[in-house]
């Protein structure tokens, strides 16, 4: 771990200005990913602006409906929040499917969104990786990629975003509120993370010094019937190999509204717009669900060892929607 200057901030404005003057610095929230990467020599900030004291720890109702989640709200608290459990079960379930009780007590809403890929080449500073060391190459394409991207990848990077929470937020159409040196802005969560293209070292559209202050959830009727389903290599405490966040409203056997997002398949949480379009107005049957999944997954470009993810996501979509709508197998 490189040595660093430590600067605790008490409010958003001072945090932003502290980091604005530190081009090699970064924010420290829960630290669950950042401190890990610093130890590995993957992250080498020279200044840490500690944002844990910022007043961003509340979940509040938005005036027009919906919830504002402070960026500093811990994953465990958010998952347990009564309003989240009631109105956005997919979000609570996604949070609880991630990490461990200890990590959820530390990890924050903002930090969870900004965690970096678990690609095994990215995590090892002795190996080439275009995301960590631009231009050094991507050994994952021909090497170990069983748990890497099947959608939206590039020849330069096949990393996936590891968050469960972000998949639920993508399905819910959340908005990320950001404060930066040039003021505040709102970013749809589905546009926060980039696809790798030829600049995989850039994970998100955030500019240096910009700080996530909250995540806003819209009032969303369809979210009341929603679920997160995660497949992984052991029963708990493991990153997803594939996941689906789904919310659906069906009446008289017809899909009236649906939200779908996939996890562990792309460089960002993958909102499945094509699948949603394919389902609207269709019968709430397993066949429609599978057809909808296929509509989205037609764009998949699996590598040698991860084609199973296409089948996995397809099955997860069908199983999750079937359960939510009460449709049989």
């Amino acid at each position: 771990m490189r040595t660093f200057g430590y600067a605790p901030a008490d409010d958003v404005a001072s945090a932003v200005s502290l980091l604005a003057t530190a081009p090699g610095g970064t924010y420290l929230a829960g630290g669950t990913n950042l401190v890990d990467l610093m130890k590995l020599g993957v992250a080498t900030p020279d200044v840490l602006v500690d944002i844990n004291r910022l007043p961003l720890h509340e979940v509040t109702r938005l005036p027009g409906g919906g919830l504002r989640i402070g960026a500093g709200v811990r994953n465990s608290e958010l998952a347990a929040h009564p309003e989240v459990r009631r109105s956005y079960p997919v979000l609570s379930q996604a949070l609880l499917a991630g990490a461990s009780g200890q990590l959820r007590n530390m990890a924050t809403t903002g930090g969870n969104l900004l965690q970096r890929t678990r690609c095994r080449y990215f995590m090892d500073a002795t190996k080439p990786c275009n995301k960590r060391a631009p231009g050094s190459g991507c050994p994952a394409r021909t090497g170990d990629h069983r748990n890497l991207a099947v959608l939206g990848a590039s020849e330069h990077c096949v990393a996936t975003h590891p968050s469960d929470m972000a998949v639920a937020l993508a399905a819910l159409g959340a908005t990320v509120r950001v404060a930066g040196p040039d003021g505040e802005r709102d970013i749809p969560v589905t546009e926060l993370h980039r696809l790798p293209g030829d600049t995989p070292q850039v994970d998100t559209v955030l500019r240096h010094g910009e700080l996530i202050t909250s995540v806003d959830l819209p009032e969303l009727e369809v979210a009341r019937v929603s679920a997160y389903r995660k497949a992984r290599d052991r029963a708990s405490y493991a990153f997803a190999v594939g996941s689906v966040a789904a919310a659906v409203h069906a009446e008289d056997g017809v899909v009236h509204d649906v939200r779908l997002a996939f996890g562990a398949v792309a460089h960002r949480p993958w909102r499945a717009y094509a699948a949603e379009q394919a389902l609207l107005g269709r019968p709430a049957t397993r066949d429609s669900f599978l057809a909808a999944a296929d509509a989205e997954l037609a764009a998949a470009e699996p590598l040698r060892d991860n084609a199973f993810k296409v089948t996995l996501i397809r099955n997860l979509v069908a199983a999750t929607l079937a359960r939510l709508t009460g449709a049989g197998r």
Partner: protein
């Protein structure tokens, strides 16, 4: 740097890179919290920070000045063990013992989470029944035990939970 551990305040002069775990083990010689992986992947370093269970290996000590830390040494003694410690003794909830302090601190924090009504991934809506085995297993999954004492840890915790 001021750290408050098990009710005692310590003034330390630490490298800012020092994790809470290393501060405890290397500087305060409180070696109950263990270093198993140093990356938040095993749970052996679990302590209670302001009453909440956390991985002390991923926390910078400098960021926790004045925040009360409880380690396994602060839970009970050999003469007067904490009920969770007693549960582990009664059910042979350990073998090599290296993950044990983390398991115990985690269980203490976990029981508090249950008391607050926090759900887990296996909690079903409206499920207010007693803490069943599946709940204990899921909630304790952040603490690896390579000796495979899990089957004994579950009844140890159930006993401490008064089940």
């Amino acid at each position: 740097m001021d750290l408050v551990v098990n009710g005692v305040e310590h003034a330390l002069d630490l490298d800012p890179r020092t994790t809470l775990l290393d501060a405890l083990r290397e500087h305060l010689h409180l070696t109950g919290a263990k270093k198993g992986c140093d990356h938040g992947q095993c749970g052996a370093c679990t302590v209670l920070l302001d009453g909440r269970r956390v991985n002390s290996c991923l926390i910078l000590a400098i960021s926790q000045q004045g925040v009360p830390v409880t380690t396994v040494e602060g839970l009970g003694t050999e003469r007067e063990p904490h009920p969770v410690q007693q549960g582990f003794l009664d059910h042979d909830g350990f073998q090599c013992g290296y993950c044990t302090p983390g398991q115990i601190c985690s269980a203490v924090g976990m029981l508090d989470e249950v008391a607050r009504g926090w759900p887990s991934a296996v909690t079903r809506d409206g499920d207010d029944g007693p803490l069943d085995d599946a709940e204990i297993r899921e909630r304790m999954s952040g603490n690896l035990c390579r000796c495979g004492a899990y089957a004994n840890i579950v009844p140890a915790i159930a006993q401490a939970a008064g089940r």
